[in-house]
């Protein structure tokens, strides 16, 4: 990670951690807390979409696996909180691995279909297995997050925790994308044959990226469950999967800073559009269309490019596939 990114990260953390002082309304904090969780999911998904060139429509299921595994193990079976979260990440990652092994060996977008189906299955299991999951009415009484004796029992307290994890995820991911592994990932997403001929085991990398991507979804899900103390299947339907893919696209595929931008924007936007309740979805869709037509590479890289048109550096941290030229 270059010096520039370090400075941006410091500024970003500075802004984030000074926000609670400015916001008195708990509701605003709650929206931002959800944004912090979404960022974790989006970064994970963007690693997959921007660096492995694959799309997952099952991230709601990975998010849900994390949430339910944490909820059930800690509430029903009294497992310790943090180790359970790590265990959930590993289990979810393994599930993704099992889906990825057969589908990522094939060329083409088989992963989309497999994850789509997986999401539907998980959703049905959450509803039908009500002796374990609480069924459609949800799972309540999940313990709150706690470190030692420090209990995160208010939106304000938990804000710092969630954003610390969120920023930590960004930091590690930025590091990763600027390492040997990150270069290999960027290479394989752009030109698989050339990447293989440069000695990169592209298939294994794709599966590993998918593992990490799903594990990050699970992490966010676990935090979500312990934050709200109540979860229900509706949150983990295919619609959330589509929503997170949208956030990646709007933020900019392959751009991690874009993911932060996309996640925050599209988490806050529906809340801000509450005033126009019935037109909420319409406006949301409209914004999406405008972005995809005028900023096909994503809003964040698009704006960054426009601001620094003359330099040859390219977008801030975007290493994903370049947008296709017209006519190809």
């Amino acid at each position: 990670m270059g010096t520039k990114n370090k400075i941006y990260l410091l500024i970003y953390a500075g802004i984030i951690f000074s926000m609670p002082a400015l916001l008195q309304n708990n509701y605003h904090l709650m929206v931002l807390n959800v944004a912090a969780l979404n960022i974790i999911v989006i970064i994970g998904l963007n690693l997959l979409m921007g660096y492995a060139g694959q799309i997952s429509l099952g991230h709601a299921a990975f998010f849900g696996l994390g949430a339910y595994l944490s909820a059930i193990c800690t509430t029903t079976y009294g497992f310790p909180l943090w180790p359970t979260m790590v265990m959930a990440m590993i289990i979810t990652g393994m599930v993704a691995y099992a889906i990825g092994i057969p589908t990522l060996k094939l060329e083409g977008h088989y992963l989309v279909m497999a994850t789509l189906g997986f999401n539907v299955i998980i959703y049905i299991v959450m509803i039908q297995l009500d002796s374990v999951t609480g069924g459609p009415s949800g799972f309540a009484g999940i313990p709150r997050l706690k470190i030692g004796t420090l209990a995160f029992d208010s939106d304000r307290k938990i804000y710092y925790l969630l954003w610390a994890v969120s920023i930590g995820t960004l930091l590690l991911s930025l590091n990763l994308t600027h390492s040997r592994v990150g270069r290999a990932m960027a290479a394989l997403s752009h030109n698989e044959i050339a990447a293989r001929c440069a000695g990169i085991d592209t298939q294994t990398y794709k599966v590993k990226i998918f593992f990490i991507s799903a594990a990050l979804g699970s992490l966010a899900g676990s935090l979500y469950a312990h934050y709200l103390t109540f979860i229900s299947p509706g949150t983990f339907s295919i619609f959330y999967s589509i929503q997170v893919v949208t956030m990646v696209l709007v933020g900019g595929i392959g751009s991690l800073w874009g993911s932060v931008f996309g996640a925050v924007l599209l988490t806050i936007l529906p809340e801000a559009l509450h005033a126009v309740k019935e037109y909420n979805v319409l406006i949301y869709g409209l914004i999406l269309m405008v972005v995809l037509i005028f900023f096909p590479q994503g809003l964040f890289p698009g704006i960054a490019e426009a601001l620094r048109k003359k330099t040859t550096d390219g977008p801030l941290d975007s290493r994903g596939p370049l947008p296709l030229k017209k006519g190809i």
Partner: protein
């Protein structure tokens, strides 16, 4: 037959035995056998569609041969995957430069060292000391390679933003960054002007002077005749001639293949 092969063993970097590769009904390579000795430039020439690029693709595992065997330093590589073959020490360039245009010139060369380096996900994400040392090492090596290929001033540019001649040299440096025992160059001067072609020819000769073994596929006969130690002439997937450049120029079958009868 047997003793001869064994004797040749230690003097041979690459050997193909009767390799055949079909695309549907078309025999792109037809029972092709040859061997490559170290520290030589061997050029593969032949009319368009003769199977030259297919041969490079078969050697590097992009395609797998239908029958026959390819031996690298005496061990078979025909069943290996591209990335394994690259890691063994066979690196290549492509007819049309296949760069990672979303990365900088420097990063392109650093990617080329992937098979020779080790840092993994954890080292990268946590930026561990070992990873830092490795990064520093490969960055320095990449810079010295870029210097050799006259690209150091462009190190920070996106690969998409440099000229075609520079892209060709960049691909060459990326291939060289893997310390290949065998370098495969697929039309390194295609699309270059005379001056750029001469510069590339000089670079290839300098690589050879460093002891680099090179298989060159090229249409530019001036370059081929000037720098090759040996020629292999392909026609319709078969070898129709092999020998020193000056002999090949006089070979009746070779001339026929090029000029038609």
């Amino acid at each position: 037959m047997m003793p001869e092969t064994v004797l040749k063993g230690d003097q041979t970097i690459l050997e193909t035995r009767e390799i055949t590769l079909r695309f549907g009904g078309l025999e792109a390579l037809n029972g092709l056998s040859f061997s490559i000795s170290p520290h030589q430039i061997v050029s593969i020439i032949g009319p368009n569609g003769a199977g030259k690029t297919t041969l490079l693709n078969a050697i590097t595992g992009v395609y797998s041969a239908d029958s026959g065997e390819i031996l690298f330093r005496g061990s078979p590589i025909s069943r290996l995957k591209s990335f394994q073959i690259a890691a063994l020490g066979i690196n290549r360039t492509f007819q049309q430069a296949q760069l990672f245009v979303n990365m900088t010139v420097l990063e392109n060369v650093m990617v080329g060292m992937h098979g020779r380096t080790k840092s993994g996900f954890l080292g990268g994400a946590l930026h561990l000391p070992g990873e830092r040392r490795e990064e520093k090492k490969i960055r320095e090596k990449a810079e010295s390679l870029l210097d050799f290929f006259g690209l150091l001033p462009k190190a920070g540019y996106l690969a998409a933003h440099i000229s075609v001649a520079e892209q060709k040299r960049l691909e060459n440096s990326r291939a060289m960054s893997g310390d290949p025992e065998l370098l495969l160059l697929d039309e390194p001067v295609a699309g270059l002007n005379i001056r750029e072609t001469e510069a590339m020819g000089d670079l290839i000769i300098r690589l050879k002077e460093k002891g680099q073994t090179i298989i060159l596929v090229e249409h530019n006969m001036h370059l081929v005749m000037g720098i090759s130690d040996r020629l292999i002439v392909l026609h319709h997937g078969s070898k129709i001639g092999e020998g020193r450049p000056e002999d090949m120029q006089r070979d009746r079958r070779v001339v026929e293949a090029y000029l038609g009868t």
